[in-house]
């Protein structure tokens, strides 16, 4: 280049700033569009929007729902970030949550569950099951060339139906015909951090996961190799990095996080037992969190805070007004579209005929 853009020390900081600006810009645009839709469809739009934007922080109980969502979205966001950084498009977090939940249930409903070790045993069993479930599409890709997107999605269905099946057959139930297990022994249920809310030990697990994933990715040689494979797998091969091993191990580690999330569901204050479809479609929303966070582990919880708020706001709006929660799908879609298409706010200024300002996106 004739005139290399002057690289100063702050360029990295500026890049981060620009990313944050873009994400917030996308959020703002998405919310404006949502507001328009609500105004067009609702009989009481002001009431609906008020619910969407204020309901989550209106009561201690709803704050609890919000924080619980933050913790869970963080873990699923981390699980996706880990595989995305290795440029593997494994979609198996949902399946890992189910097998994790099942494994935790069997352990805590066994005699171990009523001992002080029950809680930890449940979590470890869940993580091990999740890891195995993450390993399967990895090894299938490495050995058989099976596309990880397809195999992991199929494994999701298997896990969901397995949960369904076990619920109807072998798991102890409080009464015949219901599709929940008996309550877990109290030794194995995550203690609440704030009384009468869903804020429980899972939040601590989420915070620890953020640190562990960040450390693994940026401070260990495994993490560097993983990122190099993700940046350019041909380069990794050429440099002598065994990219197959990295790929499989990344998917396995991500599976362990998925399993942990399963334990957070069934052993947490939310349920405290196993039930069919306990995950409620949350696992997949980790994709959005990971995309907006650009797969950066430290950005994942921040994105989760915003997204969990919207998610709870939409759920409460759904219950209390005539606007369905699906409206939030519009928000999500617009955010993903804008963030992943690398838009810049310059286009907004051009739209209104103003002179495009280079700094608009920052």
């Amino acid at each position: 280049m004739s005139n290399v853009p002057s690289i100063d020390k702050s360029s990295r900081f500026k890049a981060v700033q620009a990313e944050i600006g873009r994400a917030l810009g996308a959020l703002a645009i998405a919310l404006v569009v949502t507001a328009v839709i609500v105004f067009l469809t609702s009989k009481s739009p002001i009431e609906a929007l008020t619910q969407l934007f204020t309901a989550p922080i209106a009561k201690v109980r709803t704050i609890g729902l919000w924080v619980d969502d933050i913790a869970k979205l963080t873990v699923t966001g981390l699980a996706f970030s880990l595989v995305f950084q290795a440029r593997q498009f494994a979609m198996g977090v949902q399946g890992q949550v189910y097998v994790g939940g099942i494994a935790a249930s069997y352990v805590v409903l066994s005699p171990i569950g009523s001992t002080p070790l029950g809680l930890a045993a449940g979590v470890l069993a869940a993580m091990a099951a999740g890891a195995l479930y993450g390993f399967l599409p990895g090894i299938a890709k490495a050995r058989l060339g099976a596309n990880e997107i397809v195999s992991s999605l199929m494994l999701n269905y298997i896990a969901i139906e397995l949960c369904n099946f076990l619920m109807r057959t072998s798991l102890p139930k409080p009464q015949p015909g219901v599709l929940t297990s008996i309550d877990f022994p109290s030794e194995s249920v995550f203690p609440a951090l704030v009384e009468k809310t869903r804020i429980d030990l899972g939040l601590i697990f989420a915070i620890v996961s953020v640190i562990v994933v960040w450390f693994a990715l940026y401070r260990t040689s495994w993490g560097l190799k993983l990122r190099l494979v993700g940046h350019n797998s041909r380069f990794a091969e050429y440099a002598g990095i065994k990219s197959t091993f990295i790929m499989v191990s990344a998917m396995t580690a991500s599976g362990a996080l998925g399993g942990l999330l399963g334990a957070m569901f069934v052993q947490g204050q939310t349920w405290g037992k196993l039930t069919v479809l306990f995950e409620g479609g949350l696992a997949f929303e980790g994709i959005l969190v990971a995309i907006v966070a650009r797969s950066r582990p430290l950005a994942v919880p921040i994105v989760a805070v915003f997204y969990a708020y919207l998610r709870q706001g939409a759920a409460l709006m759904n219950v209390r007004t005539d606007v369905p929660a699906e409206v939030i799908g519009v928000v999500t879609a617009i955010i993903i579209l804008l963030v992943s298409s690398s838009f810049s706010l310059g286009f907004v200024t051009r739209l209104f005929g103003a002179k495009p300002a280079g700094s608009a996106a920052k």
Binding site: M1, S2, I7, T220, G230, H231
Partner: protein, 514 residues
């Protein structure tokens, strides 16, 4: 009156990169006008402006004295300008004539009139001496012929001015000569050719006038008959350059690499290297000569451990390494500079420091108990940035922020950070400017002088002739000729063997095989 004139063209890209700054270009009708400059001098940007792909921020374009504005390539095409890019835009599975007429097909009613199309393409190719059969699919043709198809495409759309962007970069010497014949015939028939290049001998051979660009500006316009290669190079770089390396006499007694009966097959099962024998000694550079795709790249990849071999044995200092993986071979002292730095040599999304340490993640200096020693990694990077004068803000900058020449220096720095026993080099200076080329040549020669055995493959014969002690010509995966490099050896001689027009006998090759 000039046919095409650019006055005071300025172009600043959104990122703040000034690609053109007050550029002037005057094209007279019926001439071959060369535009030369180093990579990043702004040649391509200027051509994109002439062809309507980019819009200038300043300046005007005049066509036959009238101001014109091209906001789309279509406008430029309608004004009679055609462009042949370095990377062709052809549909490989379509036939030659289909590619040529695509978008402006002759038709009867609503049906595509294939007969007329074939006849028209045939007529064009006869008229301009661009020999090419209109019927076979483009994908089956050699690169030189594909280029002719591109030229025919432009001519079919009645181009009066033809812009050729680095047309010789992909061609063997004989093909270059054929291209020049075609260019001369085009000019004779009233066409005007703008020829972008950075290989100066070719420019001097084909052009009438030359515009030299440097750092986004036009440095000057000269008559080809009035300049020398050296003078031109100095104008391009802004200082005197000597593209010469002195090869000191070295001790070449010890065999380092010993390859016997190497056979490599590609994914489709076709043999790409067929029973190759070669040796490389300490302190010598062996050049692998050949048109791209004749097994040079595969040979290098087989030795570095990236490509599985079908048969044969590879020995390093007498010890077989055939069964070792890439990392183990690196551990034995093999370093390699790959063909394509962006596709293979670097992780451009990662930082300079990470790229510089990527091949040494097994060493205790940088990794202990699985944990990275970030301090040591940064120090390593700082040291190498200094030693190889890489222009970058610091170790933590992403490689993607570097220019092509500096990216290549990162690759070279990593591979030559420690003196290798065997250095495998493929296209070390492709798309790299003169200054960096000079530096990279020096570095490779230094490694040789210090006792490394070097196996070099390059599409640039001048590079091979400048660096190599011995040259092996590969054709279809076999050695067809071997030479000891002497000043008498010319690109033309090599070209005859490269194209498979001749083969040396075993006795002729013997002295250069050692």
């Amino acid at each position: 009156m000039a046919l095409l004139e650019a006055r005071g063209i300025g172009k600043t890209y959104p990122g703040g990169v000034v690609a053109n700054d007050g550029v002037n270009l005057v094209i007279e009708p019926g001439e071959v006008h060369a535009v030369v400059g180093e990579n990043g001098a702004g040649k391509s940007t200027l051509m994109k402006i002439l062809f309507g792909i980019e819009q200038p921020n300043a300046g005007t374009l005049m066509l036959e004295g009238k101001e014109v504005r091209f906001t789309k390539p279509r406008h430029a095409i309608e004004a009679g300008i055609g462009m042949v890019f370095q990377h062709f835009s052809l549909v490989p599975s379509f036939s030659v004539y289909e590619n040529v007429v695509m978008g402006s097909e002759p038709h009867t009613g609503i049906t595509f009139n294939r007969k007329t199309a074939i006849a028209e393409v045939q007529a064009l190719s006869d008229k301009f001496r661009l020999k090419v059969d209109p019927l076979p699919p483009v994908g089956t043709l050699p690169v030189g012929q594909q280029q002719r198809v591109e030229i025919l495409k432009a001519l079919y759309r009645n181009a009066r001015i033809l812009i050729l962007d680095e047309p010789t970069a992909v061609l063997a010497p004989q093909e270059v000569q054929e291209l020049f014949v075609a260019i001369r015939s085009l000019v004779q028939q009233g066409k005007t050719v703008i020829f972008i290049a950075h290989k100066l001998p070719e420019v001097l051979e084909i052009s009438d006038r030359i515009t030299v660009m440097r750092q986004g500006k036009t440095v000057g316009e000269v008559k080809t008959s009035e300049v020398t290669e050296k003078g031109l190079a100095a104008m391009m770089v802004g200082r005197e350059v000597t593209l010469r390396v002195d090869r000191a006499p070295t001790d070449q007694s010890q065999r380092v690499a010993d390859v016997r009966g190497l056979r490599v097959v590609n994914a489709r099962g076709t043999e790409v290297v067929g029973g190759l024998d070669l040796t490389v000694h300490t302190g010598e550079i062996v050049g692998l000569v050949g048109v791209e795709g004749n097994g040079q790249a595969e040979t290098l990849e087989a030795i570095s451990g990236l490509k599985p071999i079908a048969a044969g044995e590879i020995k390093l200092l007498g010890e077989s390494i055939t069964g070792l993986d890439v990392l183990d071979r690196r551990g034995k002292g093999i370093a390699s500079i790959p063909e394509d730095r962006i596709a293979q040599g670097l992780a451009t999304g990662a930082t300079v420091a990470e790229n510089l340490v990527a091949t040494r993640l097994g060493e205790r200096r940088y990794v202990r108990n699985g944990l990275l020693d970030l301090k040591a990694i940064r120090e390593n990077a700082t040291k190498l940035i200094e030693r190889f004068s890489i222009r970058v803000g610091g170790p933590d900058y992403n490689v993607s922020t570097l220019s092509g020449g500096n990216m290549q220096k990162v690759v070279v720095a990593r591979e030559l950070a420690e003196q290798p026993r065997l250095l495998l080099v493929n296209q070390p200076t492709r798309g790299v400017d003169l200054g960096a080329t000079q530096f990279i040549w020096r570095t490779i020669t230094d490694a040789r002088d210090a006792g490394a055995a070097v196996l070099l493959s390059s599409a640039d014969l001048h590079e091979l002739l400048a660096l190599s002690d011995r040259l092996l010509v590969l054709y279809r995966g076999k050695i067809v000729a071997a030479f000891i490099n002497t000043p008498d050896l010319t690109p033309e001689t090599l070209g005859t063997y490269m194209l498979g027009l001749a083969t040396q006998t075993a006795d002729e090759m013997q002295p250069a095989l050692k």
